[in-house]
Point group: C5
Chain length 356, copies 5
Amino acid sequence: MRNSRQTKKHSKAAGLPPGTLIYIGDKKLEKPRITVIDYDEQSFQEKQLPKIEDCFEFKAKPTVTWINIDGIHDTEVIEKIGSHYDLHALTLEDILTTGQRPKFEDLEKHLFIVLNMLSFSDEKQQIQAEQVSIILGPNFVISFQESIGDVFEPIRDRIRNAKGRIRKMGCDYLMYSLMDAVVDGYFSILERFGEKIELMEEELVASANEQTLKRIHQLKREMIFLRKSVWPLRELISGLERSESGLIAESTAVYLRDLYDHTIQVIDTVESFRDMVSGMLDIYLSVLSNRMNAVMKVLTIIATIFIPLTFIAGVYGMNFKYMPELEWKFGYEVIWVVMLIVAVIMLIYFKRKKWL
Amino acid sequence: MRNSRQTKKHSKAAGLPPGTLIYIGDKKLEKPRITVIDYDEQSFQEKQLPKIEDCFEFKAKPTVTWINIDGIHDTEVIEKIGSHYDLHALTLEDILTTGQRPKFEDLEKHLFIVLNMLSFSDEKQQIQAEQVSIILGPNFVISFQESIGDVFEPIRDRIRNAKGRIRKMGCDYLMYSLMDAVVDGYFSILERFGEKIELMEEELVASANEQTLKRIHQLKREMIFLRKSVWPLRELISGLERSESGLIAESTAVYLRDLYDHTIQVIDTVESFRDMVSGMLDIYLSVLSNRMNAVMKVLTIIATIFIPLTFIAGVYGMNFKYMPELEWKFGYEVIWVVMLIVAVIMLIYFKRKKWL
Amino acid sequence: MRNSRQTKKHSKAAGLPPGTLIYIGDKKLEKPRITVIDYDEQSFQEKQLPKIEDCFEFKAKPTVTWINIDGIHDTEVIEKIGSHYDLHALTLEDILTTGQRPKFEDLEKHLFIVLNMLSFSDEKQQIQAEQVSIILGPNFVISFQESIGDVFEPIRDRIRNAKGRIRKMGCDYLMYSLMDAVVDGYFSILERFGEKIELMEEELVASANEQTLKRIHQLKREMIFLRKSVWPLRELISGLERSESGLIAESTAVYLRDLYDHTIQVIDTVESFRDMVSGMLDIYLSVLSNRMNAVMKVLTIIATIFIPLTFIAGVYGMNFKYMPELEWKFGYEVIWVVMLIVAVIMLIYFKRKKWL
Amino acid sequence: MRNSRQTKKHSKAAGLPPGTLIYIGDKKLEKPRITVIDYDEQSFQEKQLPKIEDCFEFKAKPTVTWINIDGIHDTEVIEKIGSHYDLHALTLEDILTTGQRPKFEDLEKHLFIVLNMLSFSDEKQQIQAEQVSIILGPNFVISFQESIGDVFEPIRDRIRNAKGRIRKMGCDYLMYSLMDAVVDGYFSILERFGEKIELMEEELVASANEQTLKRIHQLKREMIFLRKSVWPLRELISGLERSESGLIAESTAVYLRDLYDHTIQVIDTVESFRDMVSGMLDIYLSVLSNRMNAVMKVLTIIATIFIPLTFIAGVYGMNFKYMPELEWKFGYEVIWVVMLIVAVIMLIYFKRKKWL
Amino acid sequence: MRNSRQTKKHSKAAGLPPGTLIYIGDKKLEKPRITVIDYDEQSFQEKQLPKIEDCFEFKAKPTVTWINIDGIHDTEVIEKIGSHYDLHALTLEDILTTGQRPKFEDLEKHLFIVLNMLSFSDEKQQIQAEQVSIILGPNFVISFQESIGDVFEPIRDRIRNAKGRIRKMGCDYLMYSLMDAVVDGYFSILERFGEKIELMEEELVASANEQTLKRIHQLKREMIFLRKSVWPLRELISGLERSESGLIAESTAVYLRDLYDHTIQVIDTVESFRDMVSGMLDIYLSVLSNRMNAVMKVLTIIATIFIPLTFIAGVYGMNFKYMPELEWKFGYEVIWVVMLIVAVIMLIYFKRKKWL
């Protein structure tokens, strides 16, 4: 679970002065991969850089520069960017400390955003989170990811092929596009969840067992995690909209409003899912109760039918010297008839009580 | 369920640039049907148009023009309207993406409203939702629906026959009337729900079974869905009232206030229903518990009466050489009397404990 | 239940233009009864009027005029009042649509209040609601009720006999007095509920059965209804206090503050009752559980004592040729002793486990 | 319970004009006891007065005058104070109507506070509430209590012996001291509750029975009551702090802030207790469930061991002519061995399932 | 539990004038230990002082002076500091009254903060809380702790070795560092909790017993306690940020914002844990229910198989004179076959019902 990871990290960093740069997270890559995409309406350039210093030349150019860094365990790289782009030590610390709560900060010269990029791992059948930190400056966007592989490929395509308006817009629109891609990713997660929940609901009534309970619980935990990633977004985006940094153009604000609507929709869906999942537990419990009822009924029917019959047989198994019935010619047959009548009366009684 | 539909759509559109127009929803119609109603206090005109371009001539006229489009899968039609009426690409995207959260947006020159029109399908015994998008301009109202068939027929009648004040009022009143018709539709849905709940409550006590649980759960999900459609209306209408666009006349504001009251009433009723439905589950569980109790009692009574009697019969079925009772003249009769006494004592005990 | 009534009404009126006057409710009276009380510090006059027009003469007089109309199914009467006192069509519609949510509206020239007057019907053992609409003008108060019979008799007495300060105060104080009488009525309803709840709690522990469950549920529904009537009052009264219409004198504002306190007290009590009622269900379930426990114990004790004994008797009922015990002189007696010892050991075990 | 008392009172007063002075509560004293404490930094005077008029002479003096009235059933006394100190009829009504919600009112010339003084009755093992109304004027404090006996004795001591700063401070500090004493009383109530809860928790696991359920419920009701007394205090004190009457000196405001902190602490503790008490019910139910489990296990073990054995004995009790085993020399012994083996296998199975 | 301790303290102090200095808490030290650390960018000095008066000399120096007092039972020391640094009596009372709610107060010349320093005692397997009070003046920080041993050692190290920026910053940064250390301590507590919860969840499914219930309950109580320590921090820090005292430099405000983020993260995690713990109880109950089901099934299977067989054996144990089957050559063998068939049918039935 992500939770314990975050707390572990913090306790690992405890005692160090604030702003000390140590990477807290799993090392997912050998060497950070640095890619630069530089574009304006006319020109376009995409490079993979061996050294971080190579990207500093773009700072002076008026074009939009998107520096993407996959792998943030190399604190030296982060430090260099920090000093070159004049970032606060605490901001760098936030970038390195994965498992953060999504947040937005209005540093004077930059905007800083932390997001959780979620993906569904088919192997582990589990949500996987990766922290994405984005820094927006006047003519650059820097994004930090924990590992290679992200949801930004369509954006790169759009830039390469000048699809849509992205090449005509500025850095703020690029940042919006990155955020939009992350939030769109939530929708596919939710779709998965929707399917999981529907499947679970069918399973619940058809074949609930102790595994089901575990799975409901697992679902609930994932929901709690999803919620923690999504709720802060609301505040984050409205903070971004209200930001007075001048880094966000009026024409982009419309898109942010649209993104806000999407976020609300994600939150709404998460809340409905939560309601459904917590309803499942109730159903699970009543399914158990129902089954117990069914078991009890069978026991009762069998027992109530045979207990009196066994008693009758027991009576005529007694060894009293003087038991007139035993001497009767058709005593045995008579007793069978009596027992049958008793059994039938019982069955009718159960039928009436609707236990059969 | 609507939920998964919405999320599916989003994941389908993921990766496309924002503002790309693709229809997300089921294709319910072959060809969009475009109807125009144009009126003022004196004149009235109603036409079905083959092409969308035919309605553009009304734009210049000072009369109230209501363009209604049934079927929004033809993105070309939407695009043409968009470019002619100068709508933002994101607005068009919202119109095409069905399954939206109800919302209001104050575009500078227009007001944009998204609503869920609900109807109760008697066949499927289920709520059906259709997205209605309304655009209010200075002298026109454009409404988009997913398919033919709506709750606006009474409004058309009132316009045709100049009933009420609708012909004397402007576009804003028409928009209010459409919203009012949608909200009135919620009342009939609630009425259905009210009946369903009452029926369910009777069924619960009379003949609860596993089907009942399923139905309660279904009811709960519909309630969650209804809630999601209704809650945002509150904010939507009060946003509309506060709008400073100048498109809403003071005389119409009174009606919006009235609509707001109706919405609050719908929300109140939905909340009460929610309370009742969640109360039902408790009742269901305790009905189960009660039944189990009843079954247990019968088992206990039968077992506790016959177990000692069977024991007595067993004792006199033993083959000891020296068992004086066996030799008695009336041993058998005596043992019957003993067994009867034991049974009667038991019954009296149960009577006292109120288990009978 | 009131709920379904309200929604039915709305769906009945659906499709009509807003402001159309049709009465929605049960027709409780043949003919509306119109009474006028006109007073100031010196004079007093009370009349029952055959026609609504007869009361219009009072409009010009500076004295306080209280027009009370019992029975609102005659839309003509309402319409006449509406046109004479210059009321908005929507206000008249609100008066006619019973089952409204309590609300306050600041019409420019009047204040408009809708309240629920509750009474406890001893016959039906149920709360009964009647809608009271009050219009406050500069020198008149008009109140509309669904049927004859109200909680305003003490106010009429005070006016007739010039008791208290009512004859010295204006219309606003009269309106306050009517509202105060309605809220005081809630206290007597709450008193009834308090008694009901106490009775129910005793019944719960003493003799809970399926009827109890039904009654708890009934109580819960009445609580939901009561809550819906009371909660909006809070906002209503504080809206009234903040009203800038000039119709409410400073000296009356003190009384409204007092009324507000009473309303808060009613809400507080309703909330406590809700807590108690929802606690009852928990108790009910655990009482059931306890009883089941008791039944189970008896079954266990009887079964566990006799099952081994029956086994012993069974053993000596076997027909093996060589069973030494059967030949013993006191075999039978010995076996009785053994069985007694087994039974006693069992009883001691149960005693220790505190199952006896 | 206090609740029903309050509602009864209200329904008793229903129909009377507002501001009518009738005492609503139990008559706890024969005659009201009036005591006056008058002090400044130098002088001190304490008297018990036979008539209320005797205290009016203090009004003109610049010293701090504290008039305390125990017993408020004598409406004449209240009325005289009211007219002499120029109090509003509604304020007097509030003083007389015990069972009020704590509140603060900023009358123009005075501040008016209603509090619930709680004490724990050791006899009845119940919380007892007494209403304390306090009026703060420019140079006097008047406090009204329902009966003799209060938590103010330490304050009187401090005044008599000039301990602390009380003799140096004004009326506002005296009022603060009274409030502080009442809130300090809550802490001792909470301490009692804390002990009760700890005891209950031990009892729960050790020896839960139907009495326990009743006691948990009782605790819950007392918690609801406590909550109703404490929550309004928060608003009350912050209202007092913000009051612009000029009656509260800046130096006293610090103390009010401290009192506010204490109140928050009381509320926090009450909320934690509520959490714990509601957790108790869950534990109670699962303790019941556990016990039932234990009972069931014993039944199952006894039954499952002996039912097969009894069957075996039954088989060899059959009277078939040709049953070879019956003729065996050691048939009886063999069958004992078989039965022992069966029993041992069963026991091992149960051991494995951890039912033993 | 801390709760009862706090309430006990309060009731102990009840009756004393506010601002009276008595220590409320356990005496954990013989003699308070006073240490002074005095530093600026160049100089550094660390001393343990025998008398509190020795530290007063530092007041005049412009360097940062951190006075730390371990052990606050000696009211004389506190009083001396109070008079020398001009602290309000209520502030001193707050320092002495351990078990406070975390709070921030803006005294005019100082800022005053109360925090709960939490640590996990491995011996008692319990959270332990210690109150830390911090006073920030223009050139000094005074911290009060209940006993020796704290989480501030790394800060002392950083000051001694001039690590990080602490030696370059002022008193406000020192105060921030202390608060940061306390909040970092919460993360390690949360890590412990996370492990505990994971362990508990595994235990729940594997081997739930009555001890588990107790432990879940214990966990829940600790969570309630943790929550009470953490929630007020949010308000505390944002109060500190908004403080207009001029004691907090702009450069330090950034760090406070960072601390605020950490606090939010702690709160988030606590809330998730709460959700998980309350989910555990549901799981616990359903695990119990499942087990009962399993027990019931075994009983049912054994009983339902053997009851009919025993009945058959009973039949042929009857002593009727004329029972043809008894005379058959292979009657005994036939009856065994019959009984086997019955048993097999039963088993197939159970298999189908999935009870096996």
